[in-house]
């Protein structure tokens, strides 16, 4: 098993106690592992670069054609702001989310400005999607998206063993709904 940060679970949610996973008895609680944190920062950086690239490139071309001026600098700054925001999000996100599951239900807490604790039963899942990008794969991580009739919930990153367990639970629940 990969090491989880179970020890400092209680410090994750501040403010209201319901946003702390420490009181969940009978639930398997997972906070972001070191790999997940590393992935989050790296993917923040990658997203930031992708968003910043067109602005920065455009600014450089403009500067080359038109010389120094206010507008190229502004566009360059917008690109850099994107980079910083995405990177910050990547750094902050793993401090904000955790998830917990049983064999019937799932809780995901997420959100940087607002913290939201979503609870949903596997029976409501209509479509399940596992994704693992080029940064995630070497770290042994994958993300899970649960599509319901009223929107989509997601686990941003989890290790393979958890993913397998949750996918099994969801499949069993889907069959149970079918049998009704």
């Amino acid at each position: 098993m990969v090491d989880f940060d179970d020890a400092d679970v209680s410090t994750v949610g501040r403010g209201s106690t319901i946003f702390s996973p420490s009181q969940l008895e009978g639930w398997t609680v997972r906070t972001p592992s070191p790999q997940a944190r590393r992935w989050s920062v790296l993917s923040g950086l990658a997203h930031g670069l992708v968003w910043a690239f067109p602005f920065v490139a455009f600014a450089f071309v403009w500067r080359r054609v038109d010389g120094d001026g206010f507008w190229p600098a502004l566009i360059f700054a917008i690109g850099i702001v994107f980079l910083i925001v995405m990177l910050l999000k990547g750094i902050l996100a793993p401090r904000t989310w955790w998830f917990a599951y049983t064999d019937r239900e799932l809780i995901v807490e997420h959100g940087i400005l607002f913290k939201a604790r979503d609870q949903l039963s596997y029976e409501r899942v209509q479509y399940l999607e596992r994704r693992s990008g080029p940064i995630m794969r070497p770290l042994g991580l994958a993300s899970l998206a649960f599509d319901t009739a009223a929107g989509r919930a997601a686990i941003p990153a989890a290790v393979q063993t958890d993913i397998d367990i949750i996918e099994d639970h969801v499949r069993i629940a889907m069959q149970r709904v079918e049998a009704l």
Binding site: E105, F114, D118, R124, A150, G151, R152, L180
Partner: protein, 583 residues
């Protein structure tokens, strides 16, 4: 849950045996088809944009080539450097009178005039021909219990909608269609992609519509609502009076509807003798606006436009929902409404996820409200599809619901009956956030305004920048206090969740807990107390996260009509509520 009830509703064997021969739309439907704008998918738009840009670019190149071919370098040079300011009336007269222009024009090949006209002509004819051929390709029918529809000229498409997944059936007829004995048919499923997931037949002959209706009737085991159906078996539930309807319409300030209706009015008035009058009026309005553009007049014009839109949206609302009749036959609800375009809708009641009782301020004065239902795949945008009763008296609402859901969910009416007394109210600690909501919202703008006015002195005291905050903040606090007093929730012993919330109208939503798809508790990460926001959603039109939530975080989103929300309840109460709903 819905799977279970739809099994009971529809007999699989009968459904499988249903068949309707392949049919074409009525010949007259070409009129409506040519009038309609084709559905634009993202793919089409992505193709069209480069084509249009390329066409404009090619046209520019062509004109450039023509100019260079017919004029010398020097002539072009003089034309470019021509002093445009020196043109006056005398010069223009001289040009018109002189023979140079006539000589030049008569020297130009006739093709220079013919080609653009021919191209435009070909484009228009081509468009009409392609649309007509597309229309000719449309076929529909029922095969082994699946309603199908095919078409497509360049790309063939086929839609297949199993009758088991049908959620509502609608027949409609405009006055013109009534004269031609035609019917429009729309059969919709639960998928949120509205148009793409439903079978919409613009106009079919009455006999064909009857045949379709007969097949649906066999599938559902009862007669469904068509203009021709005999009204013996169904139980009348409610009708809507004119006064109640107008009061309900008073709050229907739908800008989207108004814009569409304005366009329709513009088109209608463009026909025959009205055209001159219409153009004169537009001319007068623009002239007035040009002559008076000081602040007072701009405000006056804005107020006039708002009033105009308001009256218009009332008229549209009344025309849409006039002569409303609600009936029931077993598990089907029959809804019939419309003044000009008449609609006969059949809704499968077991598919109704939640009910909303909406009391607008105007309706509250006369103790009225509107009843709306949440069906999977509908949003607030599809007002028509979710309307159960546009106006109903508070005192009879419970009775209406009880009769409507007599066999399916007898407790539905009861859930509303006891709501007044037993609704859990919000704790006093929530009042502050309700009162200060608009203050927090306006704070960033106000601070920017004040700092801006301080840095860029314009003769005004920078403190004036706080005026919007004071005015709107006070109004917001007043409204917030009302919202705070109205908000509440309850779960009764049968597991029916009722939630009351006020935006401008007071909305009471009711659903059984088995219908809830997910629940959420949320609060601000910083400066948060013990109060949280609780949201639960039934199957509705779930929306994918937008750009903002993509940047700021993941999460479930639901559109307003499928959302049960309580702002400001205590965290422990929220957890207890979530636990009770989960069981």
């Amino acid at each position: 849950m819905s799977t279970r009830s739809s099994r009971a509703l529809i007999d699989g064997q009968i459904v499988d045996s249903l068949d309707v021969e392949s049919q074409r739309l009525s010949k007259f439907s070409l009129f409506w088809y040519l009038k309609s704008i084709p559905e634009l998918t993202m793919g089409t738009i992505a193709t069209l944009i480069p084509v249009i840009v390329g066409a404009i670019f090619a046209l520019g190149l062509l004109i450039d080539w023509g100019i260079r071919r017919s004029f010398t370098e020097e002539q072009i040079e003089t034309a470019i450097n021509y002093d445009l300011d020196s043109i006056d009336g005398a010069k223009i007269e001289e040009w018109i009178e002189g023979s140079a222009f006539i000589d030049w024009i008569s020297g130009v090949s006739i093709w220079a005039f013919l080609v653009p006209v021919l191209v435009a002509f070909t484009l228009i004819i081509g468009w009409l021909v392609i649309r007509t051929l597309q229309w000719r390709r449309i076929r529909f029918g029922i095969e082994d219990g699946v309603i199908w529809m095919t078409g497509g000229l360049f790309t063939g498409w086929e839609r297949r909608l199993p009758i088991v997944h049908v959620q509502s059936v609608e027949f409609r007829s405009t006055p013109l269609q009534r004269v031609l004995t035609l019917r429009g048919v729309a059969i919709s499923s639960a998928a949120p992609e509205g148009k793409n997931a439903s079978i919409e037949l613009l106009a079919v002959r009455r006999g064909v519509a009857d045949e379709l209706a007969a097949n649906m009737q066999r599938a559902f085991g009862v007669s469904i609502d068509t203009p021709e159906s005999a009204d013996d078996a169904s139980v009348p539930i409610a009708m809507v009076g004119w006064k109640d309807l107008f009061v309900a319409a008073a709050n229907s300030f739908e800008v989207r509807l108004s814009v569409v209706s304005l366009y329709v009015a513009y088109q209608l008035l463009g026909q025959g003798p009205f055209k001159r009058w219409r153009d004169q009026m537009i001319g007068q309005v623009t002239k007035y606006a040009q002559e008076h553009h000081d602040l007072a007049h701009v405000l006056l014009i804005l107020a006039g436009a708002l009033l105009f839109f308001w009256v218009f949206s009332i008229a549209i609302y009344v025309a849409t929902f006039a002569r409303f009749r609600l009936r029931r036959n077993g598990m089907l609800a029959f809804i019939e409404h419309g003044l000009l375009t008449r609609r006969w809708r059949t809704v499968l009641l077991p598919h109704v996820q939640a009910l909303s009782f909406i009391e607008s301020p105007a309706q509250q004065l006369i103790d009225d409200g509107s009843l709306r239902m949440t069906l999977p795949g509908t949003t607030r945008d599809s007002l028509e599809r979710t309307m159960l009763l546009p106006a109903v008296d508070r005192s009879v609402t419970i009775d209406v619901l009880e009769r409507l859901f007599a066999e399916i969910a007898p407790e539905t009416g009861n859930a509303l009956r006891t709501i007044q007394g037993s609704l859990h109210r919000l704790p006093p600690s929530a009042r502050r956030s309700y009162l200060l909501r608009w203050v927090w919202r306006l704070l960033p703008v106000t601070s920017i305004l004040v700092i801006g006015m301080y840095l860029i002195p314009g003769g005004l005291n920078p403190l004036w920048g706080g005026l919007p905050l004071v005015v709107i903040g006070a109004f917001g606090a007043w409204l917030g206090n009302i919202r705070f007093r109205d908000a509440g929730w309850r779960v009764d012993e049968r597991g029916v969740l009722a939630v009351r919330e006020r935006g401008l109208s007071r909305v009471t939503r009711v659903a059984r807990r088995e219908r809830l798809v997910w629940t959420r508790a949320s609060q601000l990460r910083l400066f948060a107390g013990k109060n949280v926001t609780f949201v639960a959603s039934v199957a509705g039109a779930g929306a994918r996260p937008g750009i903002l939530s993509k940047i700021l975080g993941y999460g479930l989103v639901s559109r307003s009509d499928s959302r049960f929300r309580v702002r400001g309840l205590l965290d422990t109460e929220a957890i207890e509520l979530i636990d009770r709903l989960g069981k």
